[in-house]
């Protein structure tokens, strides 16, 4: 194994609560892959939506503060939650490119940050810094025969110009990752559609509808499991499956896993450390049936 | 029933060595007609020496088949069974000619338009019909004579009717090509409607300067004989040899003498509402068409001149330093000869009197697009300022309504006038530039900005000027409290909307100029039901009229913008240059002829001929055919009481034998 690399890591609120399993598995996997997630000390919430209105400086401050703090600690910041990633990356880009805003923000947060941090999603670290072929070499238990549908959602991809994560309409990065795990990626049209986001609180019927379409499409295309990167999406398409079932009687549950859980499993981590108990739809029967655990 | 003597030889059929070539036209024919079986059956006819089929007879290998057969089998007549003769008759006649056969011994049997296309669901019957058509055509070919094309000498000058941008462009192109051009304009100066425009889309160039440059070029061009204030009175003749009578209307000013000092205009005491200014300005009884007009000479308008009304004034005559006023001048008629004619008669806007909508004509602040153009023109009645006609105030709320009488098939015109979307956007843009705090509203149906740079112009204008486009027609416009109220719907929100406007501009339909139908009758060319000139074929002959030698240019053919008009006018010039590039014109000899032994000289044919191609030979007491004028229509043949006329290669015998083929075939069933 090569030298240990450190990446500054911003977990985000949900990863300490609802999505602990995402957080934990990511940390464990990185150790196996030869790098460490160094948690940003005293981080605060990212604000959860990238403030879009032009003069909404206030909402830009939490992510700016995070970025400025991170810059004092290092040069690359990584996140797992797609929403946090979206907010932080876009704020970073804004600070980089908009001198006027940069000055305003720095005045407010009483720091001096120029936007010179690299903001990478954990998946990007895996692809760009480690390399999928290299990861593939370290896979102990290939997830052979597992038909997995990669669900991107919105936040990783859009807005395309600012995120630059992958092709805006036909992304494949996530599938490449699944292939490296030895799984069989299932392409399905709804992989880039919205999960309903926070409307699951305000107008739960929207999120139910979105979830039904996304999962239904994945199932129709042969998926046995849906893989996600985002706690918000996971909430809507995993935890809300009871609502979906209530509304659509023909709906059959399907496990939704974080990509890091799959990664951990393939890397040979004990399944009991992968936090499956936090998954709403129990994936264990499927994983057992497939012989992975 | 009395038959002419010649028909008594009906049964003595001529036998020739004939060839039949059946085209599949891809699947156009072969998909319906069993071409192989037809070729086989026709091949068994006694004098058919060669019968074959091929996927595309018009292709090079197809023609090669024909050439080889003609050469090797020594064919004396050829029938090609394929599409309409208007498509490839020429192709195949050329092919047989290259092997030394007289081209008029080659005939087309149309088994596509007249058979396979119309009987797509009856394959067997279609196959039978195709066979009959070919057999009938064989009958025709058996009797066909060897003919030579008629050579007509041509006059290599051209008449252009209409001095707008289309006529000017065609005239200049032709003159540059070395041809003499007679340019006729009914108004007293060149330029047509373009002289009324302020600036033109999409680059907002002022309309007049470039136009005047062209007009001046025309005025001094040695190859162009310009006749303004003139109309065409009569046309005789045919392609290559038209004889014209031009009426030069009396201007009552000797243009040779006039030194353009303008004193007459200044001192003329009569002012009346100017048509040119669309009712927004006045002009004098003696005046130019517009200040910089080319030619820059005044005309006295008799209906307004006091001298002509009651003889009470001779002011212009008194002040003219050159003694150029000619009250006694009369219309003059001049005769000219040309080889081809361009009709560039242009357009009008839908007449106000017939548009009983939107308060147009009643509410002074409801004007049409051309009237706004006059307002926007620096030399116009308001010196370029937009003001309400009613009270001279600057309008703060301005409504533009598109598709007024266009795209309104049941009540007005079904077609799209093509230019309104763009000129309305242009006008709204200029309005916003002049009245930055004003609000333009544009009611539209579809935004049609399909020319080069138009979409970009429109988007930029909307972005910069904040035009509000409302998608939907206006239902009503009425006057209320000094405002013009406009009731409409915005279909995008589905809401009824009301605008209290200061002024309303209607983009009224583009219609053909007055008098086009009369002119069409004189020229024996056709116009469509709206009065637009019809082209011979929308794609193959788009600038040719239905009458040979008469060509089309500009909006008289259909609405178009300046750029398209100019391209088309040049295209017209190109076609004419090709026509006139030789001294002689070859015409099809498929015309009428007279059996001099039978003709009694009754003269019925002379009266009936629509082309004036028949005349009496008073010496011999018989009627003769003017070969260049005859179009082979057959009217005289039907009318002749003595069966003295026949059409070449379309004789009664041929027709009867062809009919016989069908009748016997029908009887067989």
């Amino acid at each position: 194994m090569g030298s240990i690399m450190d990446y500054l890591y911003f977990p985000g609120c949900t990863l300490y609560t609802k999505a602990k399993n995402l957080d934990q598995t990511a940390r464990n996997c990185s150790l196996l892959l030869g790098f460490e997630l160094k948690e940003l000390p005293n981080w605060t919430c990212c604000g959860a939506t990238f403030p879009l209105a032009t003069d909404n400086i206030m909402a830009l401050l939490p992510p700016s503060r995070i970025l400025a703090r991170a810059r004092q600690e290092g040069t690359t910041l990584t996140t797992l939650c797609a929403i946090c990633f979206n907010v932080i990356k876009r704020t970073n880009r804004l600070i980089q490119n908009d001198g006027e805003k940069r000055e305003k923000i720095n005045n407010f947060i009483e720091m001096n940050y120029q936007g010179d941090l690299r903001v990478l999603h954990y998946l990007e670290i895996l692809k760009q810094e480690i390399g999928f072929p290299q990861i593939k070499e370290r896979v102990r238990k290939p997830l052979a025969g597992l038909k997995a549908a990669a669900y991107y959602g919105c936040m990783l991809l859009r807005p395309f110009d600012e995120m630059g994560f992958d092709d805006k309409e036909r992304p494949t990065l996530f599938e490449e990752f699944l292939e490296a795990m030895g799984a069989e990626p299932v392409d399905f049209p709804y992989k880039i559609e919205c999960c309903g986001s926070f409307q699951s609180v305000g107008s739960p019927e929207v999120a139910t509808e979105c979830g039904y379409k996304i999962l239904g499409s994945a199932i129709k295309n042969g998926a046995e499991v849906v893989v996600s990167t985002c706690p918000m999406c996971t909430f809507n398409i995993d935890h809300k499956q009871s609502d979906i079932k209530q509304k659509y009687l023909d709906f059959k549950s399907i496990p939704v896993l974080y990509f890091t859980q799959l990664l951990g499993m393939a890397m040979g981590l004990d399944y009991q450390t992968l936090g499956f108990e936090q998954n709403f739809v129990d994936p264990l029967p499927l994983l057992k049936e497939k012989g992975f655990i | 029933m009395f038959y002419p003597l010649r028909l008594t030889i009906y049964d003595s059929r001529i036998m020739k060595k004939l060839g039949v070539f059946i085209c599949h036209c891809g699947v156009n024919i072969a998909g319906t007609v069993d071409v192989k079986s037809v070729a086989g059956k026709v091949g068994s006819v006694g004098d058919v020496a060669h019968s074959t089929d091929y996927i595309y007879m018009c292709s090079e290998p197809g023609q090669q088949l024909i050439r080889e057969a003609v050469r090797e089998k020594g064919l004396e007549g050829v029938v090609v069974a394929c599409c309409s003769p208007s498509m490839h008759e020429n192709t195949f006649r050329k092919a047989v000619k290259s092997e030394g056969m007289n081209p008029y011994l080659c005939e087309i049997a149309n088994i596509r338009e007249q058979c396979s296309w119309v009987h797509q669901k009856e394959k067997e019957k279609a196959t039978e019909k195709a066979e009959e058509i070919i057999l009938a055509t064989l009958e025709k070919v058996r009797e066909n004579e060897k003919l030579e094309a008629i050579s007509v000498s041509i006059n290599r000058s051209v008449l252009v009717i209409g001095g707008g941008i289309a006529g000017m462009t065609a005239a200049l192109d032709l003159a540059e090509g070395g041809y003499e051009v007679i340019l006729l304009e009914k108004e007293q100066a060149l330029g047509g409607h373009m002289t009324q425009l302020s600036r033109t889309f999409p680059d907002l160039h002022p309309a007049l300067p470039d136009l005047l440059t062209k007009a001046l070029e025309i005025e001094k061009h040695p190859g162009i004989d310009l006749h303004c204030y003139s109309e065409m009175e009569d046309v005789k003749g045919y392609v290559g040899n038209f004889e014209l009578t031009i009426r030069k209307k009396a201007t009552h000013v000797d243009w040779e003498k006039c030194n353009e000092c303008g004193l007459c205009i200044r001192d003329c005491p009569v002012e009346y509402v100017s048509q040119f200014e669309r009712g927004l300005g006045v002009r004098k009884a003696i005046d130019l068409l517009y200040p910089q007009s080319v030619p820059h000479k005044p005309v006295i308008h008799r209906s307004h001149c006091r001298y002509f009304i009651d003889g009470s004034c001779r002011r212009c005559e008194e002040v003219c330093p050159e003694k150029a006023i000619r009250f006694e001048q009369e219309d003059e008629r001049i005769g000219k000869k040309v080889g081809a004619i361009v009709v560039a008669t242009g357009f009008e806007l839908y007449p106000r009197e017939r548009l009983g909508e939107y308060g147009y004509g009643e509410i002074p602040d409801v004007i049409d697009g051309l009237a706004l153009e006059r307002m926007l023109s620096v030399d116009g009645p308001t010196k370029g300022r937009i003001i309400r006609p009613s009270d001279g105030k600057v309008p703060k709320e301005m409504v533009f309504i598109q598709c007024v009488a266009s795209r309104d098939p049941d009540r007005y015109m079904p077609y799209c006038s093509r230019i309104c979307c763009m000129y309305t956007a242009k006008q709204a843009k200029i309005y916003k530039e002049q009245v930055p705090d004003g609000q333009p509203y544009i009611f539209y149906m579809d935004i049609r900005s399909d020319g080069k740079g138009y979409e970009e112009f429109l988007q930029k204008t909307i972005e910069e000027k904040g035009l509000l486009y409302l998608r939907g027609r206006v239902s009503r416009v009425f006057q209320d409290d000094g405002k013009v109220r406009v009731l409409g719907v915005d279909t995008l929100t589905g809401r009824m909307v009301e605008v209290a406007a200061d002024m309303v501009v209607l983009a009224t339909a583009v219609v053909p100029s007055d008098g086009v139908k009369d002119l069409a009758a004189k020229l024996r060319a056709t116009v469509d039901r709206h009065g637009f000139w019809t082209e011979a074929h929308i794609k193959l002959y788009p600038v040719e009229s239905s009458t040979k030698g008469i060509y089309l240019a500009g909006c008289g053919q259909s609405p178009k913008d300046i750029s398209d008009t100019v391209s088309q006018a040049s295209a017209t010039a190109s076609k004419i240059q090709a026509l006139l590039s030789t001294d002689k014109l070859l015409q099809d000899p498929l015309i009428a002829f007279v059996d001099e032994n039978i003709c009694s000289g009754c003269g019925i044919c002379v009266e009936i001929c629509p082309y004036e191609a028949r005349e009496m030979d008073s010496q011999r007491g018989i009627s003769v055919v003017h070969s260049a004028l005859c179009q082979g229509c057959g009217a005289c043949i039907a009318a002749c009481p003595n069966f003295a006329c026949e059409l070449r290669n379309n004789s009664s015998i041929q027709t009867l034998r062809m009919l016989d083929t069908f009748v016997t075939a029908g009887a067989r069933e």
Binding site: Y16, K18, T49, L61, G202 | Q459
Partner: protein, 183 residues
Amino acid sequence: MEAITEMNKMDATFLEEAKKRSGEDLSLCYQCLKCTAGCPTAPIMDIRPNNIIRMIQMGMKQEVLGSSAIWLCVSCETCGTRCPNKIDIGVLMDALREMAIDEGIHAKEKNIHLLHEAFIDSIRRGGRVHEATMLIDYKLRSKDFLTDLVPGMMLFMKGKIPLLPSLVKGRGEIKRIFERCKK
């Protein structure tokens, strides 16, 4: 019957303000409906995204700012990704929400508004979002105790929502920032 919209009485400044605050050039809209066609929440919006732009152009301020639509947008950015004129309606909606708050216009979809407020307050208090308190806060504000109670309960049972908010050191700083921004 729907009232006739009198164009002259429309608030012409609304378009300018919305343009300024969103930074989006709303005049460019083709009304091609591509935004609505791809929008996940359009089916439940009272005014669909394309019509929001249209009504802004027509100056219908009260109706737009009072609509539920502006609170239903989840900023998924599908519209902006595909718009031929790159009008980002997500951005616009955010600006409209702000304008609505500034104007004190009460949203039809008040729950969402309240959720946003509860969320902001949660950050203000603890520096991080604490879902349980946030949800309770939201429930109190919305006086809606029934919906979502069941999943909420289940989340508690599964131990996903920690009962005590975690406190971070920077929270004083965050509070200060909020205070300053309020001014």
